[in-house]
Each structure stands twice: as structure tokens, then as C-alpha cells.
Symmetry: C3
Subunit: 158 residues, 3 copies
């Protein structure tokens, strides 16, 4: 579905956008990157990691809004890498259903929606309408290893 002659439509779209997905990030504990149940794929918390680069720090203090938004986009790319490994082809994504975006906030920073848009914009850029999802974007007291952003999602897949 969506693939023509073995060509991945989503893969072509990534190329068009100049996006190369990062290596799949290994889980930081005794858990899996994602689990499928029926038509729903639950993808656990991912962070802004790309190879050796990792964005850490409190948003609103050592990380500014632009940096946090970029971190959210990086996190989205990491989510896509995990999903592609699981599904073989991202064309199997029918709909991104739900995003839960968590921002490692300094006291008083509350522009979480603008931060998490960095991930949401990416999902819509890559999947089009199938990338439109519902969402919460909230401020956490702490995130693992002080990463600036952590995002999990639920996708419908075939």
C-alpha cells in the first residue's frame, strides 16, 4: 500500500525532505523500543539522540525554545527509525494516532506545545494527513539522563 514497484512512498518522501534516519537507539533498560498489538503500534519514550549527539538540559534555562524544538524533531526522527526497523517499511503506517510529548522544563517555562511541534511538524511532513495525530505536550520535573525532550506515540499500522 503506497509502494509502487517495491518503492517505498515514505522512503521517497524522506529522501525528498533530505532526511536520513538515525541509528535505532537501544532501550535504556529492560524494555523494547516498541510493541505491536493488533493494529496498534505503541512506541515507548525516545529522546533527542542521533549517534553521538544528545541534547540534554532544562528547557527555559540551558536549552532555549529553538533548541528544544530542534530536539523534538530529532526525537521524532529517532521514533521513525524505531518504527521503520519494526515495520520494515514506514508505508505500513496508516495513521499516527497519539503523541505524548514531555519537555524537561525549568520552572516557569510553559511553551511545551511550541516545542513538541518540532516532532508533530515532522510527522505531518513525512506522512501527510496520515501523520496528523492527537497530542499532549507537558512539562516534566526530570527526564532520563537529563534529556531535554522525551516523546512516545501510538500508531495504527497494517
Amino acid at each position: 500500500m503506497g509502494s509502487v514497484g517495491g518503492m517505498s512512498r515514505t522512503g521517497a518522501r524522506l529522501t525528498e525532505l533530505g532526511i536520513e534516519l538515525p541509528e535505532v537507539f537501544p532501550p535504556a533498560g529492560n524494555y523494547l523500543g516498541c510493541v505491536r498489538s493488533g493494529s496498534l503500534l505503541h512506541v515507548g519514550g525516545h529522546g533527542p539522540v542521533n549517534g553521538s549527539e544528545i541534547v540534554t538540559g532544562k528547557v527555559g534555562d540551558t536549552v532555549d525554545l529553538a533548541g528544544a524544538r530542534r530536539a523534538a524533531r530529532m526525537t521524532g526522527l529517532s521514533l521513525l527509525a524505531t518504527m521503520r526497523l519494526e515495520l520494515g517499511d514506514l508505508d505500513r503506517v496508516v495513521q499516527i494516532v497519539k503523541v505524548f510529548g514531555m519537555v524537561n522544563v525549568a520552572p516557569g517555562f510553559n511553551q511545551m506545545p511550541a516545542v513538541i511541534d518540532g516532532c508533530s511538524d515532522l510527522l505531518v511532513d513525512v506522512f501527510g494527513d496520515a501523520g496528523r495525530h492527537t497530542r499532549s505536550a507537558v512539562g516534566m520535573a526530570e527526564l532520563p539522563f537529563d534529556i531535554a525532550v522525551e516523546i512516545e506515540l501510538i500508531a495504527e499500522v497494517n
Copy 2:
């Protein structure tokens, strides 16, 4: 189901309770108010907004328990407004499955369950047993635009 002669049972119940749902609150970023996948409707984070009224502030500091509970009820009404727009008729709700209630807490405030009961009580009042759900009610470091409460939910619908 639940409607008699085109009459919405849930609509009648809202009238009986003297409830008028607020306008649907527009998402604060690049996302949708809710997304349906199969029989599950995921409704993203909503806040205590009713037209021009919005409840902001830290619960346990500038917002007290009673005010926070009222904000949770307002948030529940906003969730219902979004669900009604999506479903056409709230009678299509088979079961409220899961509520995730987030409270914008001042340090030391930990009566989140009593706050989120403001939403849970509303759901049971409106839907009866179909409104009984499982839940978490937790304290966040920050919420978008400093809203006092944010709630998301999952419903089974037909």
C-alpha cells in the same frame, strides 16, 4: 443505541444536569483534538477553558483544591465537546476506558486524585456505568500556558 426516535439519551442527560457544553477548543499546535482508530477514540490533552474563561496557576498555591476540582470538571466538559463534534452524538460512547489527569502543582501539593475526581465525577454523571474508567492523576512541573489542569482520555466508541 441509547437513542429513541432520534433523541440522544446522552444529550437528554446533559440537559437534565443543566450542562451546556463549551465551544470546541482549538488545538494549540500542529495536532488534532482527537483521533479514532478502530473502536478506540484517543482524545488529546484538554484544559480548563470555557470561551473566554481559562483557569491558570499552580494548584496548592494560587489555585486551591476546590478551584482545581472545578477546573477538572471544566476540562471534562471541554473533552466532551470535542468528542461530540467528532462523534456527532455522545451516545456513540460505549465506555470511557482511561483518563490521564495532570495537575499543575506547587511543590508539596499531592491531592491530585481529589482534583481529577472533578472530571471523573462528571463522566460518571453523564454516562453512568459507561463513564467509569481507569485513571492516573499526577503532578506536573508545568502545563501549557500555565493551565491548572490538563486531561486526556481514551474512549471505546461505536
Copy 3:
């Protein structure tokens, strides 16, 4: 499935591990311990409670990593008790799909994955591969009644 001659495989495994599940913890508000919809069982937030014992306090301050990890395991046992009451037999668990682990953190504590492994390890010990799940493990500003850990999960059941 998994039961031989009326014997619960998971029950036998619990005995083998020397585990006795705690009493089911009553919800702290107007909600249910879990709700099933289709093949998915949503289990709401549980805490580290075993009869009269409850683990409270900020992790990284009055609760150390080892104590928090033990609290996460206690929370996992409480989740299992609720699931067994709902399902009759834990053999009906096909897969633990998703765990959302919340740690009541003191500022600067960010080893949430190591804490929540206390629950994840338990689930894998009890269910084997069926216990392997995806996950987020994050730091909350406050948890109800100052409990040290709160965990919710989604399981596929038959």
C-alpha cells in the same frame, strides 16, 4: 492457554519465584483499577502499597535508588494483583504492551529507567517474553499522597 489440567502456568511461576501477590489496592477516587476494551486491558496508576506498607518520599532525597527500585517492584506486584482479579487467571495475559513509569523525583535525580526496571524485571520474570513491553520512565513533580513511584500499563489479553 498455558494452563494444563486447570493449573495456571503463571500461578505456578509466581509460586516458583516465591511471590505472593498483595491485596488489590482500592482506587483512591472515582475510578476503576482497570478497564478492558477489546483485547486491550488498561490498568490505571498503581503505587508501592502492600497491605499496610506504603513507600513514600522523593527519590534522590529521602528514598534512594535501591529503595525506589524496590518500590517499583512492589508497584508491579500491585498491578498484577489488580490484573488477576480482573482476569481470573494471569495466563490470559498475551503480552504486556506498554508501561508508563512515573517517579516522584527530587530535583536532579534522573535515573528513572533504573528505578522502573524494578517493575519491568518483575514482568519479564513472571511472564517471560510475553512480559516484554515498551516503556517510558519519567520524573514527576508530585505523585498522589507522596508515593515514591506510580506505574500504569496496557496489556493484550484473551
